[in-house]
Amino acid sequence: MLNIKNLHVKLEEEDKVILKGVDLNIGAGEVHAIMGPNGSGKSTLSYVLAGRDGYEVTDGSASLDGVDLLDMDPEDRAAAGLFLAFQYPVEIPGVGNMTFLRTAANAQRKARGEEELSAAAFLKLVRAKAASLQIDAEMLKRPVNVGFSGGEKKRNEILQMAVLEPKMCILDETDSGLDVDAMKLVAEGVNALRSAGRSFLIITHYQRLLDHIKPDFVHIMADGKIIKTDGPDLALEVENNGYADLLAEVA
C-alpha cells in the first residue's frame, strides 16, 4: 500500500535535514505504529506524505499503491486515498463543518470521476457516522473546529476519516490532549474503520493508544531514521524502559 524508500527531507527555508533515509513498507490492511523521542522526525514524515509546503525531498521516494505521492498536490493525494489526521486540527472560522465535509467528499469523488452526493444523501451518511463518534448536529453546524475542545477536534478528525473513507490513514499523535474516555472513543472510531483494504500509520508518543488500537508492527524512529522494527511488544518495551536503551543499541 504505502512504500517509502530512503526518504531524505530537509526544511525548505533553512539547511536543516530532518529525515535521513526513512524506509517503510505498509501492506494492505496493516496497522503500523511509529514511536520515537521528540524531534525524531515523526510529524515531518506525516506532513511530507500529505504534501505540506515547506519541506524539500532531497532523495528517496514515497508511493501509494505504486503511484508516486511526492509529485502530487495535497488534494490529489487525498483523492488517491491518503488521509492525515492532524496533531493540531486547524480552526477555520466562517466555514461550517458540514459544508467543509461535503465540499471535501464531493471534490474527492469528482477527482476520481465518481458522481457527487446529493445534500440529503450526504447528510444521512454523516449523521450516521457522527453518532457513533458522539458528534451531535450542533458540532456539525459550527465552523470547522472553532471552539471545539481537544477531544472534539480529534473526534472530528476521525469523523472526516470515516466520511472520506481513505485507504491509507496517517494519525499524527491523535492521542495527544485526550483523556482516557476520549481516547477510547477515538480508538473505537479507528477500529471500526479497520479493514482488509485500509492501512494505518499511527504516530504516537505513548503505548496507551496502542492498547486500544492493536498495531501489527511498531517502528522506533530516531534522528530521522527508523532504527528498529518489531511486533506490538516493542511499544511495551519503550513504555517500560524509555528510548535510551534502543538509542544506545544502534549507536
Binding site: D53, P74, E75, R77, A78, V90, F100, A107
Partner: protein, 423 residues
C-alpha cells in the same frame, strides 16, 4: 485659519459646474445654504487629512470616466415598492409603487412646496455631520442634487427597492435621499446597482424612538465607476440602524457614514464587504458618535484585495461625556491575496465617558497557509479552498445582514466573483 485658495477655487468650480434645478422655496433655500457651506469648507484635496489615502481628484474632474454597463440585479423587488433610476434620473414608467398606509414617497425632482417634514430634514443631518470633519462632496450634493426620494414612514412599511439602471457609459449622477421614520416605524431600503459611471449620493435618515431602519446596498460590479456616497443617520431612543454595503470592483469608491446615537438604548450596525482586483480603490470612512446612554454600535468592514488593489478604512467612535454604558465595536480587515495589494486602516477612538466598553481591531494579512493545507489535505482543490477561506473571511461582515436569503444571495455573487478572479 484661512482656506488655501485652491480649495476655495475648487469649491467654486464645483458649484459652477453643476446647476441647482428649479425647486420649491424650502428646497431652494436648503440648497443655497449647502452651497454656502461648501464655499466655506472648500473642495476636498489630496493634502486633506481625510483624503490622504484616497485622492479625490478623479471625483472632481470635469467629466466622468467610462464605466462598463452592468445592471445585473442582486435583489428581487418581490412585493416591495420599486423605484427605478436610469443614469440617476427617476423613471416613473418603470417604477412600481404599491398600496402602503405606512409610507409616503415623493421624488425629489417633483417635491411639493408643502412637504414640511422633508423641509425640516433636507440638508439638516448633512449639515450637522460637517463637524468636526468637513465632507464637501456631501454639501455639494445637498446644493446640487436634483434626483432622489423623500420617504416618510409611519408604521411597518413594505421594503423600498431603489433600482439603478445605466444607459450611458460615462453618465454622472447626483442623488439625495431623505428618509424619516416616525416613532416605532420600520423600513428596509435596498439599493441595487451603481447608478452611474460617476455618482455622488447622500442619504439622510432620521430614525425616531423605537423605529428600525435596515439598509442593504449593492454598489454594482462595473469596474470603471467612481462613487462618493454619504449616509447621515440620527438615532432616537431604542431605535435601530443597520446598513450593509457590497462593493465588487470599482476604481474609486468612497463610502462615508456619519451616525449619531442621540437616544438611550439605540443600536447602530454598519458593515461592508469589498472585493477588488487591480486598479481598485475602496474607502470606508465612518464616524459614529455616542451621545446617549446604553447604546451599542458595530462597524465591521472587510476587504479582499489582489493585483495591486487598495483598501482604505477610516473609522471613528466618539463617545461624548455622559454617554455611559456605551458598547462600541469596530473591526476592519484587509485580506491581501498577493504582495502588491495594500490595506490602510486608521481606527480611532475618542472617549469622554468613564463607564464604557469600546473595542477595535484592524488586521491585514494573507490567506492562512495552515488552513489552506488543511482543506487541500482533505481533497478540496487549492483554488476552491482559497475561495472558501476568502468567503469565510468576509462572513463576519455578511452576517451583519439580518435577512438570510439576502445574505446568501450576496455570498453567491461573491463566490462568482472569486471564481472569475482566480490564479
Amino acid at each position: 485659519m484661512a482656506l488655501p485658495a485652491h480649495k476655495i477655487d475648487g469649491a467654486a468650480a464645483l458649484l459652477a459646474r453643476y446647476s441647482a434645478p428649479d425647486a420649491p422655496k424650502w428646497l431652494a433655500n436648503a440648497r443655497k445654504d449647502a452651497a454656502q457651506r461648501l464655499a466655506t469648507m472648500g473642495a476636498p484635496h489630496a493634502r486633506d487629512e481625510y483624503w490622504r489615502y484616497t485622492p479625490p481628484a478623479s471625483l472632481l474632474g470635469d467629466v466622468a470616466d467610462v464605466a462598463q454597463l452592468d445592471d445585473k440585479a442582486l435583489f428581487d423587488a418581490g412585493d416591495a415598492h420599486e423605484l427605478v433610476f436610469v443614469d440617476g434620473i427617476f423613471d416613473a414608467a418603470q417604477s412600481t409603487l404599491r398600496d402602503d398606509d405606512a409610507l409616503q414617497i415623493q421624488t425629489l425632482n417633483d417635491a411639493s412646496a408643502d412637504i414640511h417634514w422633508a423641509a425640516d430634514l433636507f440638508g439638516a443631518l448633512e449639515s450637522a455631520g460637517q463637524n468636526p470633519v468637513p465632507r464637501p462632496l456631501a454639501a455639494l450634493n445637498t446644493a446640487r442634487a436634483g434626483q432622489g426620494v423623500l420617504i416618510r414612514v409611519s408604521g411597518a412599511a413594505r421594503p423600498v427597492v431603489l433600482r439603478h439602471k445605466r444607459r450611458a457609459a460615462n453618465a454622472e449622477a447626483m442623488l439625495h435621499h431623505v428618509i424619516k421614520l416616525d416613532a416605532g416605524a420600520s423600513l428596509t431600503l435596498l439599493e441595487d446597482g451603481a447608478a452611474a459611471a460617476r455618482l455622488n449620493a447622500v442619504i439622510e435618515v432620521d430614525i425616531a424612538d423605537r423605529a428600525m431602519f435596515d439598509h442593504v446596498r449593492n454598489q454594482g460590479r462595473d469596474h470603471g465607476r467612481q462613487l462618493a456616497t454619504h449616509i447621515f443617520a440620527r438615532l432616537g431612543t431604542e431605535s435601530r440602524f443597520k446598513s450593509f454595503t457590497l462593493s465588487l470592483n470599482g476604481k474609486l469608491t468612497r463610502n462615508e457614514a456619519v451616525i449619531t446615537l442621540t437616544g438611550d438604548n439605540a443600536s447602530a450596525h454598519i458593515a461592508g464587504a469589498a472585493v477588488g482586483d487591480g486598479d481598485f480603490l475602496h474607502d470606508d470612512t465612518i464616524f459614529i458618535t455616542h451621545d446617549a446612554e446604553h447604546c451599542e454600535s458595530r462597524q465591521v468592514f472587510k476587504k479582499v484585495l489582489r493585483n495591486g488593489a487598495n483598501g482604505v478604512f477610516q473609522g471613528k467612535i466618539l463617545v461624548k461625556p455622559g454617554a455611559q454604558k456605551t458598547d462600541g465595536y469596530q473591526i476592519s480587515q484587509g485580506l491581501l491575496l498577493d504582495d502588491d495589494s495594500n490595506f490602510l486602516a486608521k481606527p480611532e477612538l475618542e472617549i469622554y465617558a468613564d463607564d464604557v466598553v469600546c473595542s477595535h481591531g484592524s488586521t491585514c494579512g494573507s490567506v492562512d497557509d495552515t488552513a489552506l493545507f488543511y482543506l487541500t489535505s482533505r481533497g478540496v482543490p487549492r483554488a476552491e479552498a482559497q475561495d472558501l477561506l476568502v468567503l469565510a473571511f468576509l462572513d463576519e461582515a455578511i452576517a451583519e445582514i439580518g435577512d438570510d436569503v439576502l445574505a446568501d444571495r450576496l455570498r453567491e455573487r461573491l463566490g462568482g466573483w472569486l471564481e472569475r478572479h482566480r490564479g
